[in-house]
Point group: D2
Chain length 351, copies 4
């Protein structure tokens, strides 16, 4: 089959053997995929990965290994990419999202940027009827946003989203759908701030020119925000969030800092009585259920954040778009789905 | 001053002495009031009340007693009607809404259906600039709905609201603003079901003709609802809610049953692992803050539930409307606010 | 193999085929079992069960079916008796204890009162080194108590335990180990009240002679209790608990009422802002982990509640003891473990 | 009256005017006080404080200002030292412990190391009958420990306490009383580690010689701890705690770092899904209620941590003991309570 293949920091589309689904696995035919900063990091050589990348996608179940339960042939499914061992002490507590032996699709094993991919059947989430494929391809990162937003109180809360990449944009949309307000978004990129406003931010702050903490104070009558959703991984944004949050507020961290950095825990966390949450993956599968209901009830619409629909053959070019930063979520259409490409682009434009 | 006055189940508008605000109290000039089933019950002789009823309202602070802190002359305020003693063991835990010695405005002491009313300054909630007076008059019962809806998870949850009186309608609007879906509403009154649909229910069920549990199952792919918001006080609706909720779901009770009734706790609560919450009043003042943010951010619009704007002189007639059941929230405009009456009615019609 | 066998309300010890562990199952050789009211109900014909009863036990893993993961041959294990399907919408949310298609060992399938029993490997909980077998045999019902006590705040809380059967006694011990105080216990049986005191109740109330609500008020300086743990299933005890709990308190129900009964929800639940929780089974496997730590750290000692060690051949006689009510937990020693019988009895006597 | 007086980093006992209780205040005659690191910092010139220090104490109510409610003349009271304004947006939410305008007794206003001190009546907590005065004098810092331990799940949880100063020792005792186990304590001071063992730690680690993370792994069968209670403020201990905690565990920070320091949030917090809580003060007054019940029920005994009973005239010498680190809690007996001094020392020796 055709696949995007990564080796020694070099990416190429080439023919590789089609996988066969082992016991408990389903074989998925790719219908639409999404790219993510992790894919960039893989290409830069982090994780020492060689193989087929890709961990955001939707596809059709075309074959089932023995004892593959919970999905049927023909189902359209999105896929939880954390493959938990189900037997470690954390999985036994129901904490599969931080399994002690987790493997991640497209990072620790071959992923989805290929004609076919084999995944554990229990990781499949049948998508609701009528969901557009580019939305379905984005459920995995949207799930990160849902997990972050719903990790504490959000309805009737003011919120600051620091970092308006795709997951930051999703977080704005989710927070709005869940009753947060005012929603304040900060970034240093005007293109992304424009998207932030389109998807539902009440206030946007250009952190390269404006005083984030002062503007948050203005927008909250001096109280500071109830909740900070940190999506950038930047030390400055993290400190701004901890400064801008009110006493006893919540700061949920999803953005990954590239290095350790200095924090004044006494003044930013302890005296303020702030709760800082590290957020990893998605609750399995409570987050998926919540996300499903938000989308099918029409409360949540993430289409404004899906800005590019590209052919999977243009993977390298998609990566360049991602690096430039002038993109929301970029989705990829595989070989043989050319008709779909136009349709997806049109659907995205409507959003 | 003029006041609605209740004595021996008889209501009349008459002149009574204008109250003077004692230490820690504010004197409020009434701008708009709302009526509620509790007012009906007062009139029927429950609670043995004699005096000025009225516990839903907005007004202007026109005088302050000594040491009245937190409000200023000229503020427009809505009022928390639970007057807590602040010293009992429950208040000391922060549970002022269930204070052991609570007194309720318009039930245990003179209320608001008068030109002026004296209330503890700490019970005043300055309303945000630009809020329409009929919405502000409804903040007290809206707070009941916000407290009920936000007493547990709601975003990404399916919800059944049993009973579509004013607070049930508010609960539908709040649940929708906070990301619940699908939202299913049941009642036996077609007028109210119509309002339920207008204010945001995805599915409405006429419980006089339809099988509530079966329709909930249909609307949730057989799963049952995650959350039940019981607003009717009816035994049948309560049992339907407990039957329709999924295992380990939440059933929050605000509607007041008039009598004890039979429940099969083993099959409806224990084997299902359901949590049943009694909801009383509003968290003081967390619920008010959440409500404030929901309204000022525009996430929540309750105007479709405000169906009648009447003159306070027509109090008896308003009570009749309430009894007939073909009304959402009824608000009352006091003497000397005739201009306002038209304006409020117009605002309500737009909603 | 030898087994206790139930059919048409008749129990006998007889030879039945030894089970073979299917895929994913382990075969357990019984070392010690416990009996429970559910066993009495089975015998009375509830559930229409025919086969081998028994759902409280510890044993040794003597054979493994294919793909049986998480246990090894020779492990001593207690067993979670709720066999969840792992694929329903509730299991997918991590709510396996209320699985939509749950089967219960010894109720929906052959149980443990036999020389050997086959159970899903994932339901096995390896017991810590050094745990006595009669304690290990009681982990399943102890888990009910742990689940109930830890279903909300308990440290620094006053607690009322209504009903001092084995699980009520366990709940007293768990609540005490977890920082509850004062712990008040009510029952109508002096034998059980004596055990309640021995295992850690600070105050015991004979509900047949004393005013439970008044005595709770005395023991809490008039505040009422923070938490009620209802273990009797009796309407009177349930109402006493709801009356004795403070406003905004917690009432957790584990005892199973035999019928529907009347409750005044307005005065007992809604105006008081009380939370009523139905408790079912044990969280899988968070409750087991908590219970394990409580026991291995020595914080919790349940031996005072284990009052009878009997031979499994005396099953009918054990049932009679249970019916008479003058027993805490009764454990059964299987054929060929005669030496153990004396040893267990001795261990129990020390506790 | 006599008072310890601090000015320009110089401490002396001298005569100062006796305070008169203003409206809402009570005048307390000091019976027993405690010293704390904050007192050391005051003396080193932090906070620029001049006046009477002292914020841990018990005394007798000897006079009441107007409208001083909730206490009576003759009551023995401990005192919550955070004086909240009760009107800011945080107090209105019930978050008085992080009041936006908080003032702290003995830091922002005259404190307790004097014959008399005036405090807001609502900050008084009448101590239970029979409580020894040196325990009562330590309720304020004990409340810090109770707040930290009970800020999340603790029963059936393994816990690491980093830092065994007085509050760390209290935290060990509280965690044990609330069902934590195993409890692991680390410090670099053998004297304190010895106290840690005496007050209830199951495992003690000398962090100056041993590998804390490895020893925690050993003590938890490789799982890491469920909860970390950080009481040292040291960067190394904080990083050890974040490393030693299991995925999705809780790290509660009470110890105050003196400076900002580097943290690798990606690997220590985000990928692990850890929750980090800043803990400030005591919940007002939920923490006091929980502490009260833990002590009066006998579940909790902190006397092993009270190592020194000294005369208040020896304040400077007490400070030296504190600096040397070879002390648990040091309590001070005021002028005219010489008889008490011996009695307290005896009570302490029994503990």
């Amino acid at each position: 089959m055709l696949a995007v293949h990564l080796e020694n920091r070099h990416v190429a589309v080439k023919r590789v053997p089609r996988p066969r689904p082992p016991r408990g696995f389903a074989l998925i035919r790719l219908l639409c995929g999404g790219i993510c900063n992790t894919d960039l990091e893989l290409q830069r050589g982090y994780y020492g990965f060689a193989g087929v990348p890709g961990h955001e996608f939707v596809g059709e179940v075309v074959a089932l290994g023995a004892r593959a339960e919970g999905v049927r042939l023909g189902d359209l499914v999105a896929v939880e990419t954390h493959v938990a061992d189900m037997t470690c002490h954390l999985c036994r507590r129901g904490l599969m999202h931080v399994c002690a032996n987790v493997k991640i699709l497209g990072v620790d094993m071959d992923g989805a940027y290929a004609e076919f991919v084999a995944v554990p059947a229990r990781n499949c989430w049948p998508i609701p009827a009528g969901m557009s494929l580019n939305v379905a391809a984005a459920l995995e990162p949207l799930g990160n946003a849902v997990h972050t937003v719903l990790a504490g109180d959000i309805a009737g809360c003011s919120a600051l989203v620091t970092g308006c990449g795709p997951i930051g944009l999703f977080a704005i949309a989710v927070a709005r759908a869940c009753g947060a307000g005012p929603i304040i978004a900060s970034d240093v990129n005007p293109y992304r701030l424009d998207l932030a406003r389109k998807i539902g931010a009440d206030v946007v702050i250009d952190a390269s020119r404006e005083d984030v903490v002062a503007r948050v104070a203005d927008a909250t009558e001096g109280r500071g925000v109830d909740v900070v959703l940190e999506m950038s991984g930047h030390p400055t944004a993290t400190r701004q969030g901890l400064t801008a949050v009110r006493n006893a507020g919540r700061v949920s961290l999803l953005g990954l800092p590239s290095d350790a950095f200095e924090l004044d825990l006494a003044s930013l966390v302890i005296f303020k009585g702030v709760t800082v949450q590290g957020i990893c993956g998605r609750l399995m599968f409570q987050t998926w259920r919540q996300m499903n209901e938000l989308l099918t009830s029409g409360r949540l619409d993430i289409r404004p954040a899906i800005t590019h629909v590209m052919a999977i053959d243009d993977y390298a070019q998609a990566m360049d778009e991602l690096k430039r930063g002038n993109a929301g979520k970029i989705v990829l259409v595989p070989w043989g789905e050319r008709a779909e490409l136009g349709q997806l682009a049109a659907a995205s434009a409507q959003g």
